[in-house]
Point group: C2
Chain length 432, copies 2
C-alpha cells in the first residue's frame, strides 16, 4: 500500500493509501459514525469512520484516539459529495504510534503565560502553524526579490566589537582574552564593506536588543534583513523597498491563502496595499499630526499612536523621509538641500502595524562621517575600518533594514509578535 | 546615455554606455595605450584606453587612476577580436568618483594576520569575492532542495537556557533577571518541536562554539543548517542528505564556473562526487584504519588525519554510520540490533575536506531518552519540554546538520575556513 502525504491526496482518489500524522480533533456523530481531523504538516484532512464500513474491531480503535496522538491510518480518499475541492478520507484502519494522554492544550482559553510555557506544544495549534507557514513565505519572498535584483547574501557577524545603534541595549558576551563582544543589533556597517566587493549585498539573521520594553511589538531576539547597494541614491532606495514589499504581499497572497483565511486576515485590505506607496517628509508628517491635535515637535520621533494616525486614511504604506539629523543615526547622509536633515526614510505599514522598514542613503564623505562619529561621542578606534570604506574608492550608496517579525505581523494580521517566531525571547522569557 | 552593469555588456555591443565601479588593476602597454580592469560586483571587464581614440585630455585622466578608485566610465563594448565570449570596453572617458590613495593591499604577498586586520578591504580581492559568490549559491541550493521537499524554514532561537552538546564550549550572556542565557550551538532540539507541527523543518543561522581550537577548520561563530523530519528513519535520512549534497554540487558547478576556475578548483573531481555515496559502519572504518597501521580503538572518534585516510580512495563522500553510543549525543536513537550503538552517521567529504554533515535518527521513546539525559548528568529540568515531545504523539524522526563553511570549503577548494565567511570570528579575532 502506498504511503502518501495529505497534500497528495487528490492524486490518489479511490485508492487505498497509508497516511501518517497526528489527530487534530474528533467528533462523535452517532454510535456508528465518527469524524476525525488528521494533520501531517503538509495539510489537514477529515476522515470518516463508519462502523459498518470498518468493522467493529477497527471502529473500536477510533474511539481510543486522543488529541495529538500520532497515528498511521489507512483508507480511501474520495471527493467530498457536495463541496468542490474538498476531500474526505474513508477510514479502513487506525494504528496508534504513540498516545497523547492529557494533552495540556485544550479547547478552553489559555492565558499567554501558560501558552508560552508550552510553546513547544502550542506550535501545533492551527493559528501558530499558519503563522509559521506565512513566515516561511515572507522570508523567501524577500530573498527571491533580492536575489533576482543582483543582491548577494552576505552574512554579517553576530559577535561584534562595537555598536551601530548606541550602547544601552547591548547584550555583552565575555570573549576569550579579547575582553567583551556584543551581540549584533544590525549588520549594516559590515554590509557597507560588502558592497565594495559585490556591488549589492544583504544579510538576514538574528539581531538582539537588550531592551526592557514589554510590548506586543518587542522581542529581545528577532530576525532582520539588511540590504545595501552601491550606486543607489535616496530616491532609488525607496523604489527598491516599495517593489520588494509589494512582491512580498503578492507572494503571501499567492502561497498562503488557506493560512490567511484561517487567521481571518482581511485579504482585500492586504491586496489594496499592493499599489504605489505614499511619501511625505518628516516635517509634513509632524504638521499633519499637529493638525490632528497631537502635541509633538519638529525634532520628535513617532510612537506607535502617531504611526497609526499617519496611515489612518491610507490603503498603502507611507514613507516618511528627510528626518532631523538629531534623531537619526550618524551614518545617514545629509540632505544636500538642508544640512539639518538626513536622507533617511521609515516605511509605515497601514492598519496600525507601524514601522516595517528603516533605511537611508549613507554618508560617503570621509570627513563628514568622521565628524559625525566624534559628535556622537563614539570611540573613533572602533570605526577606523568603517571610515576606511570612505578612504578607498567611496561611492554613493544606500540601504535599508526590514524587521522580519513586524512584516509578518502585518502580512498575517497577527496582533502579538510572540506568535510569529518559533520560540520568542522576551525580557521575562527564555524557556523553552 | 544608458547606465548599465558589466553583466549586461553583451546586450549593448557597439553602443555608448556608462558603467560605475572600481579599478581592479591597470597596465601600461605603451605611451598611447593602457589596459584597465574594472569591476562592479556583477562582473569584471577589460577596458582599452587608446590615446588616439580618447584624445589627450581624457587619456591623461586614465593615468591618474589608482587601484580601488571608484569611477564612472563611458565607452563602447565590443566583442574581443580573437576570444569567443570575451568583451572589451573601448574607453571614451573616465570620471573618478573617489580616489584610493595608498590602498593597503598590494600585489606583494601579505600574511594572514594583516589580511584579517583589513578584512573589510580584503573582501574585494578576486579570490575572496569568488568565495562569497559560491557561499551565496551553496546557501540557497540547500534552501531550494529543502523547500522543494516539504521542509519549512523554522528559525530556532540563539539565546537558549540550556546546551545540546555539552557545556564547556558555551558563550554565556547575562539575561535580565533570569540569570544567564547561552548562545546556541545547534537548533536541533527546537526543530524536533517544529516537526510535530509542520512535519519537516530546518533552520539556517549562526551558531557559536567557545572552543579554544585554532585550526584551519575552526570558527567561534559559523553558520549551520539543521534539518529535521517526522516519519523519516535512519536509512531515508542518509538518502535525503545524499540527494541534498549532490544537488548542491550541481548548483555550484552550474552557477559558479568562473569562480571555481579563478580559485583553481579541480572541477572534474567535484563532478565525480555527484554519484552514489559510500557507507560503512564506524566499526568497519576502525578496522580499515587499523589495517593502515593507525593506533585507534573501537570506541574512538576520528580526527582530521583519520577522516582523510577513510576517503583517500573514494571519489564520493562516505557515510560512517552506527557509532558507539559512548561517543555520540544522548538524543540519538539506539540501534535496535545492538543497544551499544546509535543510528547516527557522519558524512565525510573526499579530498581531505573532512566531516560536512552529522546526523541521526532521534530517540523517540520517553523512558529511554529520560535515562540517557540522567546518565549524561544533565539537569532534567532543562529538558522537560524536550521530553514532552515524546509524551504527546511521539513519532519516529531523524535529522542532520550541515556546517555551511565546511561545505563551502569543499565546494570551493579553499583550504582555510576564514576565507569563506565575510567576517571570521576566531579565538584571537573579533575586529573588524
Amino acid at each position: 500500500m502506498k504511503s502518501i502525504k495529505i497534500k497528495e491526496i487528490k492524486e490518489h482518489l479511490n485508492e487505498e493509501v497509508l497516511l501518517q500524522g497526528w489527530v487534530r480533533n474528533f467528533r462523535k456523530a452517532s454510535s456508528k459514525l465518527r469524524f476525525v481531523i488528521f494533520r501531517d504538516g503538509t495539510g489537514e484532512l477529515q476522515a470518516v469512520a463508519s462502523k459498518p464500513d470498518m468493522g467493529a474491531e477497527n471502529f473500536a480503535k477510533v474511539k481510543d484516539l486522543t488529541i495529538e496522538a500520532s497515528v498511521k491510518i489507512t483508507g480511501i480518499p474520495q471527493k467530498h459529495p457536495h463541496k468542490e475541492g474538498v476531500y474526505e478520507f474513508h477510514l479502513r484502519d487506525v494504528e496508534i504510534i504513540s498516545s497523547s494522554p492529557d494533552y495540556p492544550i485544550g479547547k478552553k482559553e489559555h492565558g499567554p503565560d501558560f501558552l508560552l510555557s508550552v510553546r513547544h506544544l502550542w506550535l501545533r495549534s492551527p493559528r501558530q502553524a499558519a503563522a509559521l507557514k506565512i513566515r516561511h513565505t515572507v522570508y523567501f519572498a524577500i530573498c527571491e526579490y533580492l536575489n533576482d535584483h543582483d543582491f548577494y547574501r552576505f552574512d554579517s557577524p553576530i559577535l561584534t566589537p562595537n555598536a551601530s545603534e548606541g550602547t544601552t541595549t547591548l547584550f555583552e558576551v565575555p570573549y576569550f582574552d579579547l575582553g567583551s563582544a556584543f551581540l549584533s543589533q544590525s549588520g549594516q556597517l559590515y554590509l557597507e564593506a560588502g558592497i565594495m566587493s559585490l556591488g549589492r549585498v544583504y544579510d538576514f539573521g538574528p539581531v538582539f536588543r537588550a531592551e526592557k520594553s514589554k510590548t506586543r511589538k518587542h522581542l529581545t531576539e528577532f530576525w532582520m534583513m539588511d540590504a545595501e547597494a552601491a550606486f543607489v541614491e535616496h530616491r532609488e532606495n525607496l523604489q527598491i523597498q516599495e517593489d520588494l514589499i509589494r512582491f512580498v504581499i503578492r507572494s503571501v497572497i499567492a502561497k498562503n491563502l488557506p493560512e490567511l483565511q484561517l487567521l481571518e486576515r482581511d485579504i482585500a485590505r492586504l491586496k489594496k496595499a499592493d499599489a504605489p506607496f505614499k511619501c511625505c517628509t518628516h516635517r509634513e508628517a509632524i504638521d499633519f499630526l499637529k493638525g490632528k491635535g497631537v502635541d509633538i515637535g519638529y525634532e520628535d520621533d513617532f510612537g506607535a499612536p502617531e504611526e497609526e494616525l499617519i496611515t489612518t486614511d491610507s490603503d498603502v504604506p507611507v514613507f516618511i523621509e528627510k528626518w532631523p539629523k538629531s534623531i537619526k543615526s550618524f551614518y545617514m547622509k545629509r540632505d544636500p538641500e538642508n544640512a539639518d536633515l538626513v536622507l533617511g526614510a521609515d516605511l509605515i505599514a497601514p492598519e496600525g502595524f507601524g514601522e516595517i522598514i528603516g533605511g537611508s542613503q549613507r554618508e560617503d564623505d570621509y570627513e563628514i562621517l568622521k565628524n559625525r562619529i566624534l559628535a556622537e561621542g563614539y570611540d573613533l578606534e572602533n570605526y577606523e575600518w568603517f571610515l576606511d570604506l570612505r578612504k578607498y574608492g567611496s561611492v554613493p550608496h544606500s540601504g535599508f533594514g526590514i524587521g522580519l517579525e513586524r512584516l509578518i505581523q502585518w502580512m498575517s494580521g497577527i496582533r502579538h509578535i510572540r506568535e510569529v517566531i518559533p520560540f520568542p525571547r522576551m525580557i521575562n522569557r527564555i524557556y523553552p
